[in-house]
């Protein structure tokens, strides 16, 4: 589900990340108009429950650009710019304010620069795979999902400018695929929008979903991913796509992702590293968990170490059979 908290100009309490907000708060201090600075604003999430009916027809609208977006996974926890105590020259109020603004601009640009550099650095992990990545299309990755339809239902792909049939559920998404820095794991991250037949765009179901693959094992990971024109890379990416679509469809139809369970710190594996997330447990199946994070993200993750160098990992095989 999507939720957003719009920025309030001036005296909002989404503080510190924007120069305008900072100056607004400084202005508030100076004028002692403090009460006006303390308002919180939350925009509620929207969701439309689908009707659980049999024989549904699903239509996936592909992105305008069919080239799949791949990126290096980045575990970025916020840039920290180290600087010591700052003396502000203050011969008068205007000079004081000017020095504060200049300092804030310098700090802000340093942080933005750090973020950009970190992403650029993270993307370098894809360098050995660029020739193959440029040949992969969403249509190719979505094909196993189309072919995996259940009896009595239908699945099809349409172009970006086409419209679904009257009785068809429309799915719109542009997934991003991420490769972990240790190159053992691929993940898929996407916001998906699903509309039941006859439902307007604004009333559709929206969700943010991330699926993390099991770790692969190989003495030469680059060779493993690229062998056979990137067979393994395409295979795992297509599996992630199918898993993502299945979670999205279930969430839209039967409310997967809605749970009254309390939040707790759940541990899972990303590659060979144990990760933790404050989340609600939605389901557990085939050595994998689906959890709902504090941000409402639906996360499909492995909990057991899978070691496989060829073919599918045990958990992928388990999910495909079930």
């Amino acid at each position: 589900m999507m939720s957003s908290a719009p920025q309030l100009p001036g005296c909002g309490n989404r503080v510190g990340s924007r120069l305008g907000t900072l100056l607004g708060v400084l202005g508030c201090v100076m004028t002692l108009g403090l009460n006006a600075c303390l308002a919180d604003e939350v925009v509620g999430a929207e969701r439309v429950d689908g009707q659980a009916t049999s024989g549904r027809s699903w239509t996936l609208k592909l992105p305008t650009d069919d080239k799949v977006v791949f990126s290096g996974a980045l575990d970025f926890e916020g840039a920290s710019v180290n600087s010591g105590f700052m003396m502000y020259p203050a011969p008068n109020a205007a000079a004081f304010l000017a020095s504060v603004i200049t300092h804030a601009l310098i700090v802000g640009s340093q942080k933005d620069s750090q973020r950009e550099k970190a992403q650029e650095s993270a993307d370098k992990v894809l360098d050995p795979y660029q020739p193959i990545l440029s040949t992969i299309s969403y249509q190719e990755l979505a094909r196993p999902w189309v072919d995996g339809m259940l009896p009595g239902s239908s699945r099809k792909l349409i172009g970006a400018v086409e419209s679904p049939g009257r009785d068809e559920w429309l799915i719109e998404t542009t997934p991003v695929f991420l490769m972990a820095q240790d190159q053992r794991t691929l993940s898929l991250d996407a916001v998906v929008s699903i509309r039941a037949p006859g439902v307007t765009e604004s009333a559709g179901y929206q969700s943010h979903i991330r699926v993390i693959s099991p770790a692969v094992e190989s003495a030469d990971l680059a060779e493993m991913w690229t062998a056979g024109q990137g067979k393994k890379l395409k295979e795992i990416s297509a599996w992630l796509f199918s898993e993502f679509m299945n979670i999205a469809m279930s969430a839209a139809i039967d409310g997967t992702g809605q749970t009254s369970q309390s939040f707790r710190t759940i541990r899972y594996l990303e590659g060979t590293t144990e990760k933790m997330e404050r989340a609600q447990l939605i389901s557990e199946h085939c050595g994998r968990l689906i959890i709902k994070t504090l941000r409402g993200l639906l996360l499909s993750v492995p909990v057991k170490a899978s070691t496989s160098s060829g073919g599918n990992t045990p958990e992928i095989t388990c999910i495909q059979k079930s």
Partner: protein, 227 residues
């Protein structure tokens, strides 16, 4: 010349007043087995999670930092110290598994109510814990102390120079009550920022996630010492 002497005097006073930093004393598990005597496990009063803003050094800077982060502070203060009260029981169980005799002390240990220990030296506790020997009929005391819990954000004057980060620090030490010396002393510090945007009032999900992550990581490291 007079000012140099004055500065030197101030420096000597400051250095003279500073408490010596206790270095790590590695845990030898033989200090917690059947032959090592009865161990009491106790915690100091658990502090409420809170925010701090290092680098906001002037009065107006402190006020600005505080106002900039009002929402974060009031939210942080509501976060629970999840799993920390249970640590005494967890460590007691591990000591038992190691063959040691152990008792969990339900009282909170208020360090500032203990007298200072008369002699000073390497690995000698600054506070005098010996009175606890008779009170709880124990030979050693294992103390857990949480000096840092919550969020911090670095400032330079009025300007935030970092995004807020969750932080957790827990100190653990084992004092032999016959000679008031540390048989184990270790500090576990964890800090983590939000993954992605942090500024998501009123519930700050990214920072909340980081908060519970640092709690788990710190607890894991502490408990791992006894496994």
């Amino acid at each position: 010349m007079r000012s140099i002497l004055l500065l030197t005097g101030v420096a000597v006073l400051v250095v003279g007043c500073a408490a010596p930093i206790q270095s790590i004393v590695e845990l030898n598990k033989s200090a917690l087995n059947a032959k090592s005597g009865k161990v009491g496990v106790v915690m100091t009063p658990l502090r409420k999670a809170d925010t701090r803003f290092p680098g906001a050094d002037c009065l107006l800077c402190m006020a600005t930092a505080s106002i900039l982060n009002t929402s974060l502070t009031s939210y942080t203060q509501k976060l629970p110290p999840e799993g920390l009260p249970e640590l005494k029981g967890t460590l007691a169980e591990l000591i038992r598994k190691n063959g040691g005799e152990v008792v969990v002390i339900t009282d909170e240990l208020k360090l500032d109510e203990l007298p200072d220990f008369a002699s000073k030296g390497p690995n000698i506790a600054l506070k005098d814990f010996s009175g606890l020997k008779k009170k709880y009929a124990i030979d050693k005391i294992l103390v857990l102390d949480v000096p840092v819990l919550g969020m911090y954000r670095q400032f330079s004057g009025y300007i935030p120079t970092s995004d807020p980060r969750a932080e957790f620090e827990i100190k653990g030490y084992l004092v032999n009550l016959s000679n008031n010396t540390y048989e184990w002393y270790q500090k576990f510090s964890e800090a983590k920022g939000a993954n992605g945007n942090w500024d998501e009032p009123p519930n700050f999900p990214g920072l909340t996630n980081a908060y519970f992550q640092v709690l788990e990581m710190g607890k894991d490291k502490l408990v791992g010492t006894f496994q």
